[in-house]
Subunit: 304 residues, 4 copies
């Protein structure tokens, strides 16, 4: 039997001493204040056991990780109908690239690039009565933690400087693939990305994807088939133009965010969340990627 606690400790101690820890995202003032030496690891086993190392209980900005949670909620509302408005193919491009969007008539390549996430946000704005409040409540429910909240400074900051997302939203609008106003969709989207969660909270929130759509409290949020599909999309599209590399090196469905967080999971087995704010040139947490690589190569626990 694997000594998960010992393994997390070893990985934590090894990576803490690395010289190259990547570069903290600087385009949002709130994110740039993060300490590049921070490292948190939290593993939630499907059988209920959990293990942690380092800074596993401090909330940080989940950013793009929120796209998976939003996707699961959109699927709960519209099921397979959402695939008429967004595709499921890897993009082979950076997260904020607009050219593929144009070539394919306004259908984003997948729901985890920004353009696709905006379509998902549009769906949620349509279905939720109080979009921001209701979505936060959904996240609190699946994580079973009412303390999770928005960082409004981060949302405001994005609202003032996220011009690329405005461009993507208007481009979608020009292709008739946005039903609500650009301002409403972006206001929701920037808040969604500005949710703050710890490694522990992320692991608990993603439990449902490792557990056939059922969260730790036993509620079936989405059908098992849809949970599997979300895992497939995470695997093929969860790390921008580094998705193939992550599948290759780590071998788990997962999702990263520019706040330095990563959540990965082995279906019916475990969820592992990491937080290390320094990013590699492709926008994924440098140390987080290494932690996951060490974990799967030492345990041989991967989907492949």
């Amino acid at each position: 039997m694997i000594d998960f606690q010992g393994l997390l400790n070893n990985i934590h101690d090894d990576l803490k001493t690395r010289e190259d820890k990547g570069v903290v995202a600087s385009y949002i003032p709130e994110l740039s204040k993060q300490d590049v030496n921070t490292l948190g690891l939290y593993m939630q086993h499907i059988d209920g056991r959990s293990f942690s190392a380092g800074d596993a209980f401090t909330p940080f900005s989940i950013q793009s990780i929120s796209k998976v949670l939003a996707l699961s909620k959109a699927i709960a509302f519209e099921d397979n109908k959402i695939w008429e408005r967004v595709d499921v193919e890897p993009s082979g491009n950076p997260f904020n690239h607009l050219s593929l969007l144009e070539l394919e008539n306004g259908i984003p390549r997948n729901p985890l690039i920004n353009a696709g996430a905006l379509v998902i946000a549009d769906i949620l704005v349509t279905h939720l009565e109080n979009p921001k409040e209701d979505f936060l409540q959904y996240v609190r429910n699946i994580a079973n933690d009412q303390s999770i909240k928005y960082n409004f400074k981060v949302a405001d900051s994005e609202e003032r400087t996220g011009f690329n997302n405005f461009a993507a939203a208007y481009l979608l609008k020009s292709f008739n693939n946005l039903n609500n106003s650009v301002d409403d969709v972006l206001d929701f989207y920037f808040h969604q990305c500005a949710i703050e969660m710890s490694c522990e909270q992320l692991s608990k929130a993603f439990y449902l994807f490792a557990n056939g759509g059922q969260c730790m409290q036993g509620n079936q949020h989405i059908p098992i088939q849809q949970a599997k599909r979300i895992n497939a999309i995470m695997l093929t599209c969860g790390f921008y133009d580094e998705a193939g590399e992550f599948a290759f090196e780590v071998g788990l469905p997962g999702k990263s965010g520019v706040g330095g967080g990563i959540v990965a999971l082995l279906p019916n087995n475990f969820i592992l969340a990491t937080w290390a704010p320094g990013l590699n040139p492709r926008g994924n947490s440098l140390i987080g990627m290494q932690a996951l690589e060490q974990f799967t190569s030492q345990t041989n626990l991967s989907i492949f």
Copy 2:
């Protein structure tokens, strides 16, 4: 316990009656003669049991499925050194698209698009004493079947008309990413694609990828870590610009060929090969994709 034989029978009988069976590849005369109504299914369980339905024992042209076998042999020779010459990212483009090759300075996106497979072929031509004979022998060995052979008519036909592959090879050569002559590499490559195998033979040959690198006879052809990596590449890149869709709908690593074959596998569990010559617009077997989709949705056996 799942009744695999009954399931294969049901899938076979259901799909046999479908009206739309896709279009048989016409660009190679030998392939165009295939009967669109052919349907073969063969399942090899990791525990030794096997099941079949329909035309499971007739050899057909494996075409691009051979890329996975060639990759495994190249890895046996050069291990991770091959990744200096070919990347592991999904391309988001059709199998024969050259533009991405150019944008990235002659490094193909992955070893399963044509340009990448040519780099792999170049590696084998460098290492094998008698490339064509030795590679065929390797395939015979891992499938444990000495009757497997080349269809020289198909190879000749490709050699006379495969201009797109000539273009890709010369482009690689112009980027110094081909060490042998274009003619030598293409002669090998066209033969590699012209190997004929049945669903049964393919299932046995791919056993090693489902079994941590060890074939049915117990020989360790590649390390477990590399077997996992090949599975990851199959999942993210095995179906051209339909890779995301296949991961999403089927949820298994696999590889298709324009001869109408598909092999898919669940690590440590089973290998399933299908043959149905009619292709969908993206070049993958239409009925084969549906057979695999039915199989995984009815058994819930997928990596996700």
Copy 3:
């Protein structure tokens, strides 16, 4: 000596009877009301003579033709400094294509595609005290006609539906290539495009480009070198992805607009403006292109 009046009459009469007159732009309600059978021609010779046929004195929406006038004003302010923010190469793409903008780090390919025209608009918003009033006055001055005015309905309509231009502006902003707010730049830009002028007024306004920078009243608005450069840009970039075709078939610098207008000129010789609201699939006036082709092939008056 050429009988210009007879020639204009013949061209007018011939083209009036054509069955295929193209399709009137429908995305702006005001433009869609135009009569596809309208045809106006006005030729202003550099020596002062002028000739006309058909509907040459009715104002219409000049749309993208305004980009040349805005460019000339921006050059008057900043001279060659503007080329740090916009390039002078043909795009090979439709007028509203954003992907090239991204690949080249926010520097639009040329000032006559939408993205480039937005950079020019940004420059004018920076330099003009009352941008909309002052720019209209500039156009009135060079055309020597104080009756020229904006169509505010057209500008409003664009402001409510021109999502593609919003996308381009935000993308420029994300690359730090827009100094003023997106709203201010677009408000100016939509008005600039909504100027209404007749063929006669356009011919007189473009006189300065055929006359080394000097308008009919004798004022030197830009240096001769810059007038030549603007002509060069019109020739290589004035007709979107049909620029090569226009140079090839007509052989004159010119600019088209989706309102159905085209202005072309032979330096030191003449300016010829046409108006025919039906567009070809690439967004240029179908009958206008033919009128210009007939004119230059029958007179052999072209820059080549």
Copy 4:
């Protein structure tokens, strides 16, 4: 009246002293031996006068300049029929870029990029009895100089190393846009590019384009309309992704070659050929471009 001889002398003397003279093409051994300090200028006036400075009478490898001569011969054979197989739009890409070729189904963007020039070469191989001999004789005739010849070493060198051209030719073949064999077309093409001519000989050969299709000896090689069209193509496509820049800075139709030559012309006025082997990063002669820029800005002789 302009003192052309004095002007050529001044330009020659000024540019001879420049420090940055660009980089001599190194991919062909024969070309790499050229002296970067060489500078030749030759101006042929339409009225028969001629002027020269520096190394104007030494033959050098004309390379891509030959594409214009080949185009004129193809037009003599097939007139406008050639435009079914090659377009006339600027490419916005480097001379050897293949991706646009693919997106547009095997129709090269214009006859002056490599792919387009290969289609033209294919036309000549179809029509000429002894392609290489006959084409050379055509060039000798229009230049009225029987001493012009191929440099077989350069042709051989290209034949052994021009992999990118092989790639382009095979890609065209895969799109059914090459009627002869790749080997035959490339053998012709590499010889065409390996013609050696001096600035004087180039000026005399291009006389026909400045003179409505009629060469100095009075023979009408192509109709005036076609001469104008070739000039238009030179202007929009003659300098790869620097075509807009050349039109903007120089304002003349022209064509460059990697041997360091440039020919430009003002219709009904003059032809000016330059030779300076150092290239700028875009593959055009650095000093040659400056010479032409100085000439047109000091004389105000341009088409604009």
